[in-house]
């Protein structure tokens, strides 16, 4: 490489220590290189292995698996449509709810909060990002579920029952609505912490310049900070979406794990991840197992696309690596 060490040592020195050091250099380089190659091999192996296990299902159902709705273990007919739609629906709504709130927290923590509050609330937000999803799911099933069933459900149905989203009252606390709320709570801290870091990276010069021109604080945020951080914010939201897409446990706990192709949030649902988690142990046939792996392939593809999109945008920003 281009390191100074590459320049040859004087002969006397080189002969005395050359052999051992050459050996040391080569070993460390190859051992660490092996680990690095191992990482690349691992990700390749994951993709290959999941595809390989899904092969029987891919061979029988082909690409039409994606838009077929049946999931029937008796007739051995499988399709992913219900789970795919529910995954995108529930994740999309959670992101829609979480993004503005998370960005508001980021703005508050970077611009508006007084110094002392900043540290305390800032670490509270980071702490929340570390909560295990199974704990959130526990809260979702035992605390949030009954509230959705008895309070939110009837109330939203009374007020907004004319929309397709709240057309019926929930028959239990396990609904897609509960899942949306749990996922929102899960991704707000992650997205908020990244947005705060992004806002803190805006150079003070251009902020002060904007204020100096007579802009109000809000105009400065809208005209300078948001455009400056736009790409970063989009990828922060995408990273949150990636987390929500692949979340299996918390969603399994609260969504009811029965698929319906409906916009009604008070029906039960089932996402790609939660179907895999819920049906794995009960899988009756090889084809069902392969079909669950096929769901895994779809899930992997979606989350890789989302994460790649986030990475491509994030390249240009030096976001602290936290997700």
């Amino acid at each position: 490489m281009d390191d100074p060490i590459a320049t040859p040592l004087p002969d006397s020195l080189a002969s005395r220590r050359g052999l051992r050091d050459r050996f040391g250099d080569t070993s460390l380089r190859s051992i660490s290189g092996l680990a690095a190659v191992g990482v690349i091999a691992l990700i390749t192996l994951i993709i290959y292995e999941v595809l390989d296990q899904a092969r029987p299902s891919i061979r029988i159902f082909g690409i039409s698996f994606i838009w077929h709705q049946t999931w029937n273990a008796v007739t051995n007919q499988y399709g992913a449509l219900d789970f795919l739609v529910a995954t995108l629906y529930v994740t999309g709504l959670a992101v829609l709810l979480a993004a503005p709130v998370a960005i508001a927290i980021g703005l508050y923590l970077s611009e508006l909060a007084p110094g002392g509050v900043r540290g305390v609330v800032g670490s509270l937000v980071e702490m929340l990002a570390a909560i295990p999803s199974v704990v959130l799911g526990l809260w979702g099933i035992l605390v949030l579920g009954p509230v959705v069933h008895n309070e939110f459900g009837p109330w939203l149905n009374d007020v907004l029952g004319w929309t397709p989203f709240f057309a019926t009252r929930p028959i239990s606390g396990s609904t897609m609505f509960t899942a949306v709320l749990v996922l929102t709570i899960m991704i707000v801290p992650i997205t908020a912490a990244i947005s705060r870091d992004l806002f803190l990276q805006v150079p003070p010069d251009i902020k002060e310049g904007a204020i100096g021109l007579g802009l109000t604080r809000w105009e400065m945020v809208r005209g300078v900070m948001l455009p400056y951080t736009r790409g970063g914010l989009i990828s922060a939201v995408l990273l949150g979406a990636g987390r929500a897409l692949g979340e299996a446990i918390a969603v399994t706990q609260v969504i009811g794990t029965t698929a319906h192709l409906t916009a009604n949030l008070f029906e039960t649902g089932d996402t790609l991840a939660s179907r895999i988690a819920a049906q794995y142990q009960a899988a009756a046939s090889n084809l069902q197992v392969a079909s669950l792996f096929y769901l895994g392939v779809i899930l992997l593809a979606i989350s890789l696309i989302v994460n790649f999109a986030a990475l491509l945008i994030v390249r240009r920003y030096d976001i602290a690596q936290r997700v």
Binding site: G24, D25, L28, R29, W139, G214
Partner: protein
């Protein structure tokens, strides 16, 4: 703006300025309101988990094993031991590989190679943990059955990108002057890396690893497919057998119709959460302080 005649500008606020001020206040108010609402809800979640957990907490939880279905009482001792062992093995796998890969990227790899490995790490980090679970199942469990070490491998895959990425960041922060100083003394590259660069970075590397441990301790999905769902009711220390784990106990207890099991889930969640929160808060605190120090150098 129209800054044509300086003399004609009045300093008194006109209707337009008042409107702008009003918009400013409304927007700031909305931002503060949203932030407080969200932080309030999040705090509510944590407090409600902690309170319920605290109420359900008792000594039996730590000393007794889980009981078979239908009996009352019992604890999560078998889960605590299982989680400790599985996470320890996972750390033993992920830590050396993660650190070595990071050393290669930061110290040896040219730009191209480094970028490819970093990309692989980012991709690996984006793989949903349930996919890691079914991958480990397909690779290790099919045909040979459940075992705790297989769960550790799955957890290690979750930890690996976290360890490697934080290590790369830390190594990048070690000032080049340190490396050049060492080279100038005629010290070879491998000695420089191992005895000059690593010692100044190792503290932050370990804190980064602590965050990964905190994450692994709470992971549930990779365990679902690698250590049995029929959790053994006694303490198991042989990694060749299936082990109980705290996150799995919480999952099954939370879905149980039995209220006393629900209570046990709250208590277990309390223990898990305190562990994870203390670990990650301390690590973040130390990391932030060290980074400030390294940057200042």
């Amino acid at each position: 703006m129209e800054a044509s005649g300086v003399a004609s500008i009045s300093l008194k606020s006109t209707g337009r300025s008042r409107r702008r001020q009003r918009t400013n206040h409304v927007a700031q108010g909305a931002s503060i309101f949203a932030a407080f609402l969200a932080i309030g809800v999040l705090a509510l979640v944590v407090i409600s988990v902690l309170l319920r957990g605290l109420k359900a907490l008792n000594l039996d939880l730590f000393t007794k094993n889980q009981v078979t279905y239908g009996e009352t009482g019992g604890g999560i001792a078998n889960g605590l031991v299982g989680t400790a062992i599985m996470v320890a093995i996972a750390t033993a796998i992920a830590l050396p590989i993660g650190i070595l890969a990071a050393v290669y990227v930061a110290e040896f790899g040219g730009n191209r190679v480094a970028r490819v490995v970093k990309l692989a790490l980012d991709v690996l980090n984006g793989v949903p943990s349930i996919v890691v679970g079914i991958f480990a199942y397909a690779l290790l469990v099919v045909g040979s059955g459940y075992a705790a070490w297989k769960a550790s491998v799955a957890l290690a895959i979750v930890m690996l990108p976290l360890v490697a990425r934080s290590t790369i960041e830390v190594l990048r922060l070690v000032p080049d002057a340190l490396r050049y100083g060492s080279y100038a003394l005629g010290i070879s590259k491998w000695r420089t890396v191992l005895f000059v660069v690593m010692p100044s970075a190792i503290g932050s590397v370990m804190t980064g690893a602590t965050l990964a441990v905190a994450r692994a301790a709470g992971e549930t999905a990779p365990l679902l497919f690698t250590t049995s769902i029929f959790l053994p009711n006694q303490i198991e220390t042989d990694p060749h057998h299936a082990m109980a784990a705290v996150p799995l106990l919480i999952l099954f207890d939370s879905e149980s119709p039995d209220a006393s099991l629900n209570n046990q889930a709250w208590a277990a969640a309390f223990v898990l959460m305190i562990f994870v929160l203390v670990l990650s808060l301390t690590a973040r605190y130390i990391l932030a302080r060290r980074e400030r120090k390294l940057r200042a150098r």
